[in-house]
């Protein structure tokens, strides 16, 4: 296998229509951002799936580590007072 530099990996985000957020669609290899954009159009929007595309080189994404999911997300679990259902109100109270 060659040691030379291969085309880097890019993550592709597509807005399917105005009013919706960009969503992760998948990834692909491309030499640069321009080529990533062209390839993303051909690979992910062949059937009108999008009106806007973001391409981000994968190495620029910082991801949380699932092994640290405990300290990362568990603190939110016991804070039930952050949810409206925590608060008892009499049935007579309307529109709240």
């Amino acid at each position: 296998m060659s040691e030379k530099k291969n085309w880097p990996l890019w993550e592709i985000f597509v807005r399917s229509k105005n009013g919706l957020e960009h969503r992760h669609f998948g990834s692909l290899h491309a030499a640069d951002a321009e080529m990533a954009m062209e390839n993303a159009r051909d690979v992910y929007t062949r059937r009108n799936e999008g009106v806007s595309i973001w391409v981000v080189e994968s190495k620029n994404i910082t991801a949380s580590n699932p092994e640290h999911n405990g300290e990362m997300f568990e603190p939110a679990q016991d804070k039930i007072y952050r949810h409206p259902t925590f608060y008892d109100l009499p049935d007579e109270v309307k529109h709240m």
Partner: protein
């Protein structure tokens, strides 16, 4: 990690799958799960890529612009499907180059059906109708498989695949409603593609070495034999509608079971093709390897251009 710790992690892992939770790339997973997924997903990706070759053969000779546009779109979809699957596979820590290397060296397999030749236009019809039909039956259950990236890729693939089958059936229908000669072409294509399509759904359950583990990991939801029966049951009435005959003298509707009984499959032929002795194995690999090698300078030039541009941008900014 101690053996006990691994065993504990494995139990947690199996329980998650049993609860229908999805596994994502950075989650802990048993090494065998990783390897099995790399094997199956890459095999699937390679099949999409090699699958372009038998059909590419007819793009320039399609009988009308409508057919040509449809066939081009189908082949382009297959490139896309290969790409979704390679990307999903790469999330397991194997590089695209390694995956290609495994295909080119013959270490990785692809679907044996693509080692049969496409000698008439009717083969484009038969492939769409039968080969894509069998592929859909295989793929729909995979939309629910346990590995998230694979399941997501399959959802996309399945959405796009149904046009493939319909365009194939339409080709068959047009031929069958045409002249005697055209109908004979359709019949000939069915004769040649029927048995390989049945084989495509994999060895019988008794011979399938991976089935049990794959069922547990939801890489498989139905056994090969169940899928094959489903394919036969849904395809035979379609052949009747076309007015052509499935080339199996033992094929018979069984009122009791509610399924078609069918004849013996020639598994020797299947294994011969898998081992590299099919009619087109060498041709397919040669086409693939030379496309990759001949494209090397283009890939290198694109990379060099990107690097030059990057340097220029940095120089401008400083």
């Amino acid at each position: 990690m101690s053996e006990k710790e691994v065993k504990n992690l494995e139990e947690i892992f199996e329980a998650r799958i049993a609860r229908d939770e999805k596994i994502e790339p950075k989650d802990w997973m048993p090494e065998k799960y990783r390897q099995t997924h790399i094997r199956q997903m890459s095999q699937h990706a390679h099949s999409e890529i090699i699958g372009m070759l038998p059909e590419g053969n007819w793009i320039t000779r399609a009988p009308s612009l409508r057919r040509k546009a449809a066939l081009l779109a189908k082949v382009q979809d297959e490139a896309g499907h290969g790409l979704y699957l390679y990307s999903a596979c790469e999330t397991l820590g194997i590089s695209r180059d390694e995956l290609y290397e495994q295909l080119h060296s013959g270490k990785a397999k692809y679907s044996s059906i693509f080692n049969y030749p496409t000698i008439t236009w009717a083969d484009m019809g038969a492939i769409g109708w039968l080969v894509d039909g069998a592929a859909i039956i295989n793929q729909v259950p995979l939309c629910n498989t346990s590995f998230g990236p694979y399941a997501r890729a399959m959802v996309r693939v399945c959405k796009e695949e149904s046009f493939h089958q319909r365009q194939g059936f339409e080709i068959m229908l047009t031929l069958c409603r045409g002249t005697e000669e055209q109908k004979a072409m359709a019949q000939d294509a069915l004769n040649r593609w029927w048995w390989p399509s049945l084989m495509m759904l994999g060895p019988t359950d008794a011979e399938s070495i991976h089935t049990e583990q794959s069922m547990k990991w939801k890489l498989k939801r139905k056994s090969n034999d169940e899928l094959r029966q489903q394919f036969i049951d849904q395809t035979v009435p379609q052949a009747d509608l076309l007015g052509i005959k499935v080339p199996d003298p033992d094929l018979k509707w069984n009122e009791e079971t509610g399924h078609y009984d069918f004849g013996e499959i020639d598994w020797d032929e299947f294994w011969q093709v898998v081992k590299g002795h099919g009619p087109c194995n060498k041709e397919r690999m040669n086409a693939r390897v030379s496309a990759w090698n001949n494209g090397e300078w283009v890939r290198d030039a694109a990379m060099a251009y990107a690097e030059k541009n990057e340097k220029r941008k940095v120089a401008k900014a400083s």
